[in-house]
C-alpha cells in the first residue's frame, strides 16, 4: 500500500518550501472583513473555478450565477475557514456545493453516480501507443465525453493540480475512492480512444 504524502504545493517542480501560502493570508484578511482580499482571491481563481463550473453545467449563465454564489459563500465562510484544508480545495469544494444547490433549485438533471460506466478490469493495450496516435484535440474531446464524475476527478487532478487530499475534500469521498475513480476515469478514457482508433 502506497501512502499518500503531504501535499507540497502546486505545479510540477515549483519550490514552495518555507514560503507562506499567499492564499492563506488572503483568507485571513477576508475573515477580518477586507472585501479587497476577496477580489484578490477572485482574481487568482476566477478562471479555474469558472472552468470547473462549466464542467458541472454546460449552461454558461447558470455557471456564472453559481460562481457568484460561490463568491458570496466564500466571503461568508472565510471566518470559519479551517487551516487544515487548502484554500484551493476549500474554494473548489464550495463551488461544487453551490453548483449542486443551484442544480437542485432549478430541477435540472445532474451527474448521477449511476451514470458511471462500469469499466472492465481486463488488461488494456499499451497506452503509449494509443496516446501517441491520439491528437490532443481528440484527447480533449474524449475527456469531454467521459461520465461526469470521472471527467470531474480527472480534470481536477491533472488539470487543476489538486492533491488526493484536496480531491477527497472537494468531492466529499474517501481518498481510496478518489484513487479508484481516477484510475477508472483513466481506463475509460483509454477505451474511448482505443475504440475510436479501431473505428477508423
Amino acid at each position: 500500500m502506497v501512502s499518500v504524502g503531504r501535499q507540497i504545493g502546486r505545479g510540477d517542480g515549483i519550490e514552495v518550501g518555507g514560503e507562506v501560502d499567499p492564499d492563506r493570508s488572503i483568507v485571513a484578511r477576508m475573515a477580518g472583513g477586507d472585501a479587497e482580499a476577496l477580489g484578490e482571491l477572485y482574481g487568482r481563481y476566477r478562471r479555474p473555478l469558472f472552468s470547473y463550473l462549466l464542467l458541472l453545467t454546460p449552461d454558461r449563465g447558470l455557471a456564472e450565477e453559481i460562481l457568484q454564489d460561490t463568491l458570496v459563500a466564500v466571503w461568508r465562510g472565510a471566518g470559519r475557514f479551517e487551516g487544515r484544508a487548502s484554500v484551493r480545495g476549500w474554494l473548489f469544494g464550495v463551488a461544487r456545493r453551490q453548483a449542486h444547490n443551484a442544480v437542485r433549485r432549478r430541477v435540472l438533471p445532474r451527474a448521477e453516480e449511476g451514470a458511471l460506466a462500469t469499466v472492465a478490469a481486463d488488461e488494456p493495450g499499451p497506452e503509449a501507443v494509443a496516446l501517441a496516435a491520439a491528437e490532443r484535440a481528440e484527447l480533449t474531446a474524449a475527456i469531454g465525453a467521459l461520465a461526469p464524475l470521472q471527467r470531474e476527478v480527472l480534470v481536477l487532478a491533472v488539470g487543476h493540480g489538486l492533491s488526493y487530499a484536496e480531491l477527497a475534500d472537494v468531492l466529499g469521498v474517501p481518498m481510496g475512492t478518489v484513487k479508484s475513480r481516477l484510475s477508472n476515469a483513466r481506463r475509460a478514457l483509454q477505451e474511448r480512444l482505443a475504440s475510436r482508433d479501431g473505428g477508423r
Binding site: 517542480g13 476566477r46 457568484q68 463568491l71 484527447l139 475527456i143 484513487k179
Partner: protein, 305 residues
C-alpha cells in the same frame, strides 16, 4: 514503495504528474518508472491527459464582469444589514458598512446619469442666473430641479437599467436595501446639485434667503421623484419618465396660464397650490417611498423563481 507489481506506482501517477506527491515518494516513482516499462507508459499517458486537461481549462472563456459586480453588491448589502441588526456593532462600523454598500452600487448605476443630471442642472442655473435674473430666476430653478431628479430616479432600479441586477437577485438577497442604496446615491446627487445651484443663485442675487429658494423646489422634487420611482417599479422606467415629464408639463402650463382653467377638469390654481404645499408633498413622497420598499421584494420574489 513497492517496486514489484505494475499497479502500485500507477495509483500515484496523477499526483506525481501534478506535483503534489511528497518528494521522497516522487523519487520512488522516478526510480520505479526508470525500470518498469508498463509504469513508464502509464506515466506518459497521464502526462498527455494532463496536457489535454490544462488545454481544456485554458480554453475556458473568462466569466463576465457582472459576476463580480453582483457578488460585491450582495456582500455589501449583507454587511450593511448585519451591521444594522447586530446590536453590539459600533456606530462607526455601521457607517463604514453603509458606506461600502453605497460604494458597491456606484458601478452598477448607469454612468451617463451623473453627467446628464449635472449638465441639465448647470444649464438651468446658468439660464436662471444669467438670463432671467430677479425673482423669476428662483422659479426657473424650481422648475428644472424636480424634473431632473425625477427622471434620474427612474434609472435607479430594474432589469432594463442594470443587466447584472437579475444575476444579483437570483438568490435570496435584500432588494429593498439595494434600492435604498441606489436611491440615496442618485437622489442625493441631484439634491446636492440643486442645493449648489440654489446657493449660487442666492449669492448672485443677494438679499434672498436660502430657505425660501429651497422651499420652491424641495417638496416637488421629493414628491415627483417618489412618484417616478413607484411608477418605474410598477410599469417600467420609460413610462415613469414620460409620466413625470407629463405631470410637470401640466404644472408649467398651469403656471403660464393662470386665472383660466386649462381644460374643464384642470384648475390652474389647484395645480399651482398643490405643488407649493411642501408638507403635503413631503408626506406623499414618504408614502410612495414606503410603497416602493414593500413592492420591490415582492416583485423580485416573482421574478426570481
Amino acid at each position: 514503495m513497492t517496486m514489484g507489481g505494475s499497479g502500485h506506482v500507477e495509483e500515484v501517477l496523477p499526483a506525481y504528474v501534478n506535483g503534489t506527491l511528497a518528494p521522497a515518494e516522487a523519487d520512488g516513482v522516478r526510480r520505479h518508472v526508470g525500470a518498469c516499462a508498463s509504469c513508464a507508459a502509464a506515466l506518459e499517458g497521464w502526462r498527455a491527459v494532463a496536457v489535454a486537461a490544462r488545454v481544456l481549462i485554458a480554453e475556458t472563456p473568462a466569466p463576465s464582469a457582472a459576476v463580480w459586480a453582483g457578488a460585491a453588491s450582495r456582500i455589501a448589502a449583507e454587511a450593511a444589514l448585519s451591521g444594522a441588526v447586530v446590536a453590539g456593532g459600533g456606530s462607526g462600523d455601521r457607517l463604514r458598512l453603509a458606506w461600502s454598500l453605497l460604494v458597491g452600487q456606484v458601478p452598477l448605476i448607469r454612468r451617463g446619469l451623473w453627467a446628464a443630471s449635472a449638465l441639465t442642472m448647470l444649464l438651468g442655473s446658468v439660464v436662471a442666473i444669467g438670463l432671467v435674473g430677479g425673482t423669476g430666476s428662483g422659479m426657473l430653478l424650481a422648475l428644472v430641479a424636480p424634473v431632473v431628479a425625477a427622471v434620474g430616479v427612474a434609472f435607479v432600479y430594474g432589469a432594463e437599467n442594470d443587466p447584472s441586477l437579475e444575476l444579483a437577485l437570483a438568490t435570496p438577497t435584500l432588494p429593498s436595501l439595494v434600492l435604498v442604496a441606489r436611491l440615496t446615491l442618485v437622489f442625493g446627487w441631484n439634491l446636492g446639485l440643486a442645493l449648489a445651484a440654489t446657493v449660487a443663485l442666492a449669492a448672485v442675487e443677494g438679499g434672498v434667503g436660502l430657505w425660501p429658494l429651497v422651499a420652491l423646489w424641495l417638496g416637488p422634487m421629493l414628491f415627483l421623484s417618489a412618484l417616478t420611482l413607484v411608477l418605474s417599479l410598477v410599469v417600467g422606467g420609460g413610462v415613469a419618465r414620460l409620466a413625470a415629464m407629463g405631470l410637470w408639463a401640466v404644472r408649467l402650463v398651469a403656471l403660464s396660464d393662470p386665472g383660466r382653467g386649462l381644460a374643464p377638469r384642470v384648475d390652474a390654481e389647484l395645480v399651482g397650490g398643490f405643488w407649493q404645499a411642501t408638507p403635503l408633498l413631503v408626506a406623499l413622497a414618504g408614502v410612495l417611498l414606503a410603497v416602493a420598499l414593500v413592492w420591490v421584494p415582492r416583485q423580485e420574489r416573482f421574478v426570481a423563481r
